[in-house]
């Protein structure tokens, strides 16, 4: 768990952080989002002491970070940045093994660990001896995540890790990351300027501007009424639509919904399954020009999902 209390940081006369309070419970992913220069990256870097703070305190797992030597602190915190920063003269294996080696793990243990990580992140074993320059951007990013996870740190800091890859690769990396996070349940602080990425990955969206946290909450929270005009304009009027992508049809509680009694509409598509996102469900309604579509539930029933079910679900979520 990470707790920041009244963290303040200034560069000369320029105030980067003006008293920030933030708490990330264990196993949760907090996504810091805001316009460039809002202090989100600075905030992230204060946690592993890449940036020293002028006032306030930061605790990681109940211990003040000022009590550690910076190097020792950093070895317990996974770190992953845009552009990856892999060591070009190390091969993939050695890149991932850097932190375990700093921690003096036995070499056989490291070997196993690297193998497991590569498998988990979908990198073929044959890549172990490749140099970073032989990897595509997406592959390099995966290696970067592996390196951050290598020593199994309880805390993970990610600074726009998927910022430099093309949209298709980014989506794949996001999905891979979600899967990893679901399995490992790290305490993650993730910086992005991409609203959709925040919605997808966050347990908690933290909105920053000009060195302050303006608002924070579960992604659903921002689908409802927002008072702050800046938050409203930054998240955009399409926010509810984007939010739909985070949830799947399963989240509606399909078994409670009524049976689809009419004929299955001829759409050329196969009937939607329970794991499709709500955004796809809405798209399907629009494609067919209907207020309701059939969805095949996990038990094989065809249930009737209406537009109102989506709208109600969103408003429910926004009140959580």
């Amino acid at each position: 768990m990470i707790r920041l209390t009244q963290v303040y940081k200034a560069y000369g006369a320029q105030e980067a952080l003006k008293g920030v309070d933030l708490e990330v419970p264990e196993g949760q992913c907090a996504v810091l989002i805001g316009p460039s220069g809002c202090g989100k990256s600075t905030l992230l870097k204060t946690i592993n002491r890449m940036v020293g703070i002028n006032a306030g305190s930061i605790e990681v797992n109940g211990k003040n970070i000022a009590d550690y030597a910076p190097e020792l602190l950093r070895r317990q915190i996974g770190y992953c940045i845009q552009g990856v920063g892999l060591f070009p003269h190390f091969n993939v294996h050695d890149n991932i093994a850097v932190v375990p080696r700093l921690l003096k793990w036995p070499e056989s243990h490291i070997e196993e660990r690297v193998k497991a990580l590569m498998e988990m992140s979908g990198l073929p074993d044959a890549y172990r001896l490749k140099k970073p320059r032989e990897l595509s951007g997406g592959e390099a990013q995966r290696v970067g995540v592996c390196r951050a996870l290598a020593a199994d740190p309880p805390v993970l800091l990610m600074d726009e890790p998927f910022g430099a890859v093309d949209p298709l690769t980014r989506e794949r990396l996001q999905l891979a990351f979600m899967e990893i996070q679901r399995a490992l349940r790290k305490t993650v602080v993730f910086v992005t300027h991409d609203v959709e990425e925040a919605i997808l990955l966050a347990d908690r969206v933290v909105l920053m501007n000009q060195g302050l946290i303006l608002d924070a909450g579960a992604p659903g929270k921002f689908a409802g009424d927002i008072e702050d005009p800046f938050v409203k304009s930054f998240l955009g009027s399409e926010y509810p639509l984007k939010l739909l992508k985070r949830f799947s049809a399963r989240d509606l509680g399909l078994e409670k919904l009524p049976e689809w009694l009419e004929a299955i509409p001829e759409s050329g598509n196969i009937v939607l399954q329970s794991d499709v996102s709500l955004k796809e469900v809405l798209s399907e309604m629009m494609r067919l020009g209907l207020h309701a579509v059939p969805i095949e539930s996990e038990s094989g029933r065809f249930v009737r999902v209406e537009y109102d079910d989506l709208a109600n679900y969103l408003s429910e979520v926004s009140k959580l």
Partner: protein, 390 residues
Amino acid sequence: MRKTSLKARVGLTLAVPALVLLPLGTFRPNRVVRGIPLNAATLLEGKSLIAAVVVLVIAAGLYVFRDRIRNSMVLYVVPWLLGFVPGLLMLLLSQASPAGESFDMEVARISLSSGFWLLFAGILILQSGAPRGGILMTLTVLFAIAVPGVGLTPHLALYKEFINIEVTFYAELRRHLTLSLTSAAVALLPGILLGYVCHRHQRLREWILGVVNLFQVAPTLSLLGLIMIPLTYLSRNVPLVADLGIRGVGFAPAFIVLTLYCLLPITANAFSGFDQVEAAVVDSAVAIGMTKRQIFRQVLLPLALPVIFSGIRTAVTQNVGNTILAGLIGGGGMGALIFLGLSQSATDLVILGTIPVVLMALIFDVVFKLFEDRMTQRVGVAHDSLDTGI
């Protein structure tokens, strides 16, 4: 292909006029007399020899303009044949004497003249464009050294000068090598450290590079003069210094000046080597929890090494040349022979001193370049994730 045939053409236009128009050697009845020029016409006695030369020139012409005619594979023999020319020419020259007179061949000698050197240069340039040009040029030079080296050219002035001073020659050669290599080696550590300081501290950078640059732009000779003053003072007033054998002239000042000279290429290259390491790489090294020392040894140094190495290469090759000046202040080296030759107007001695310097510089350049390439290969180019796409 284009560039290759350009090199060949330049080589040919240098070699042919040198062969036809300029004297290839000079016959001197003794060491100081002016001498009689020997050109190709007087040198090539006998029809078969003339015919051979004519054939070779025509073949060279065909080789050079092979892209205009039918490009036959046979022509690629030509650069290899030309490789024998300088060595054989020396053999011919050594036996030559002007017709009609007799000389005491104990003291008479034949110097190599402008025609020979230009012809030699032209052949090397022509070869440099050929396939396996590097090896070819090396073999040509080795052959040209081997012919007098095994004593086949007893009357060549260079050979006679060499025999005269053989013992000193090797001693000075060793001294030259020691002086230039050790002074470069001594500059290595401070150079790299200064480069690192430049990389870490922006404010110190200008100062350090400025001072280091100052050594470089100051003429070597005046730097030698300047360093002699404090050294003389020290050796007279500090017994320890005098005990160490340090004086205002000799090895010490030469060594110090050469070391200072090596600082710039090493420092500047070390700085730019460290500076070209991607910021993201260094950042993640910090974020991962490496100490400053670990970052330097595991990340910065290995990634900067190819660039640093190229600085070392510059320093060493330049140093080999600069070491000649040590001869001026009693520091020894090939400079001692060269300046002796200059003072005696013995051009052959000057050339005898110069040739090893040129060869050493070339050899170091090639050897270091090989290391450098290997290192660059190992380190690889900096990774640019934006470029690679999916």
